[in-house]
Subunit: 380 residues, 2 copies
């Protein structure tokens, strides 16, 4: 039995992503969730259960219960590194598909601007910095190997940054809303060779919320909605770069999650009109494009260079502007991606709308490829 | 639609609970999960998805993937304070009931002996110590109020300790396997008045695992199994003791979770033969007994004194020995309770077996009453 078409997305909400020193994580959750309630045309009391994804900005279900005064209902905190948000969405979908709740809330939040350094330090042995490696340094290894193996260079990465900032400049909720050109990317300060400043997503505060419901409930509400077609999650080792056989040019967790999601949806990568993918770094987007099956291994640079990832390309990649424009408030990102896919499918992405999409995909990566998560939505 | 009878428990496993300075959290997860695989008669490769509950002993799904080399499948980390383990079980049940996976693993772990103080300190504002209050001091407030309101004293609490240690002395996996008498409880060093040493559960390392499956799969395996009859979870504020109207003598989260679980199971408290309840402190067990509906508010002391909570009583409370005997390795406790209920229902609790039980209940409390979680299992 599959849960295809058994869960509907009926509303989404985002904070403005950015540097919100004036906002707490609580403030951002309220902002995003109430936007989603309004979008779905429901009241907080209609929420029968909730899942909140956060890495460092809360503990337990009270992370959500207290700011929203959403007391007396089940709320689960899900944490799966940078894929926490999409895994919160996935678990909410399971509960709705199981028939437990008519309407459920999935949301995510992270406050990074004033706590990031402390947060990463306390990860201990687990993620990157535990072994003295920061995220840019790990993904730089992948870029270096990819360059060597497939004969491209920094200019291919720059085209990813230019494309995503072009898209993000039109998105009212993006953190960085500015066009950039290749020259600016290539001359930017080096962060970790070969990744320069514009190869890295910014450090950002934000929250995102998604309301899911049984399709019959969605229909009865009379609002537009989309349907969950496929879900996939795969976990590999927490240290993929240490795993024997790891080739540095792709993440098996992404491919496995995508295959699970495609199988559930009964489609292939060819059926996807657009995808929000995890471009924490420009090199990551190239790996994602290949891991998700949109083009053969080693050809994503060319795919982007030829405009196939543009809004009007074969598969629009990150029409929202991606993490490059939104930053990556850890727990929020997965729900933001699902929100983007929902809005595109409903034709509500003014200024960055993909033409008549039927299926959209969201891809959230956790750790340095430790966790891959994929959700596919389709028009109802 | 309810998920009653749509999920089976097919195997359980526990580490010996205790002071395991020689073991890491990884070691304990391997020990508990492989015991559960053996109990279910399955191989690790049969696990199609997993949920791991932990508060401080890991991050993301890799918490489980790495020690078990369980790569390439979906693994979610769930965190809900001291109820993390049972919420991991709950989410695994939803996914199986939704038809996503034939066989799934729910487990929990905590390494407390060498990290507890640091762990609690890093909770920040959220739980108890964030406001300068430790768990004993918070539950001592409840005890003091309960004494005042219902006219009992420390001797009523001592009977809880005596009963639970009596049961736990017979359980091979318990941390403290010793009988104690009331005199010893009453003369023990004071921790936080009126709670003495034997009113508090010990600080313990441990792990527990539960395998769930679709009932048709359970049947085909030919092993004994039990069925999930009811599940409930409720979250209140993270600071219940600060909430206007809080009466200090019961936790609404427990009652709400229990009502949800009873309704799903189509039974009432009267149908429960035994219950594993969250006796982090002796006073907590009295509150639990009332919150779960086993006797009217204010009468739990008498209920215990009259032997109604004994193994051969009206409702055996903590036949395993409870947290008083097992300690409370945070993420592990909820799965341990489900494991105990499963074994009792299958008649496998040698030495502490309840006679012919039909329904058993597990109750896991998180925070100082912030999270209530209840699971009801029944004979297949």
């Amino acid at each position: 039995m599959s849960i295809k078409d058994r869960v509907a997305v009926i509303g989404v909400g985002l904070t403005k992503f950015g540097e919100h020193f004036q906002w707490s994580a609580d403030d951002m959750l309220v902002d995003a969730c109430y936007a989603a309630f309004a979008d779905a045309g429901i009241q907080p009391k209609d929420i029968k259960a909730a899942w909140v994804g956060t890495s460092r900005s809360g503990a337990a279900g009270v992370t959500l219960a207290d700011p929203l005064k959403l007391y007396g209902i089940p709320i689960t905190r899900v944490e799966n590194y940078c894929a926490s948000g999409m895994d919160a969405f996935r678990n909410a979908c399971f509960a709705v598909a199981a028939g437990m709740y008519d309407i459920a809330l999935a949301c995510g939040v992270e406050k990074l601007k004033d706590t990031a350094a402390r947060g990463l330090g306390s990860f201990g042995r687990h993620p990157l910095i535990g072994y003295g490696r920061t995220p840019p340094s790990v993904f730089a290894l992948a870029a270096t190997r990819y360059f060597y193996q497939f004969g491209i260079d920094k200019r291919a990465l720059a085209k990813v940054a230019v494309k995503n900032h072009h898209n993000g400049a039109k998105h009212p909720k993006a953190h960085l809303r500015m066009e950039i050109d290749e020259e600016r990317v290539l001359s930017a300060p080096m962060i970790c060779s070969p990744l320069g400043l514009f190869d890295c997503c910014p450090t950002t505060d934000g929250s995102a919320a998604v309301i899911v419901a049984r399709p019959e409930v969605a229909k009865s509400l009379g609002h537009p909605y989309t349907l969950v077609k496929g879900l996939g999650l795969a976990v590999e080792t927490g240290e993929p770069f240490h795993k024997p056989g790891f080739d540095y040019v792709g993440f098996p967790a992404t491919t496995k999650a995508a295959n699970e999601a495609y199988a559930m949806a009964g489609i292939t990568a060819k059926d996807i009109a657009f995808a929000e993918v995890h471009d924490c770094f420009t090199i990551t987007e190239l790996l994602d494009i290949e891991d998700l099956g949109f083009c053969p291994k080693g050809t994503a640079g060319q795919f982007v260079a030829e405009g196939k990832a543009n809004l009007d390309g074969a598969v629009a990649i990150n029409p929202s502007g991606g993490l490059k424009s939104f930053g990556h408030p850890i727990g929020a990102t997965g729900c933001r991606m699902v929100s983007e896919v929902h809005n595109q499918l409903l034709g509500r992405a003014e200024g960055y709308q993909v033409k008549n999409p039927r299926f959209g995909l969201a891809h959230n990566l956790g750790g340095a490829g430790a966790v891959g998560s994929v959700a596919i939505l389709g028009a109802a």
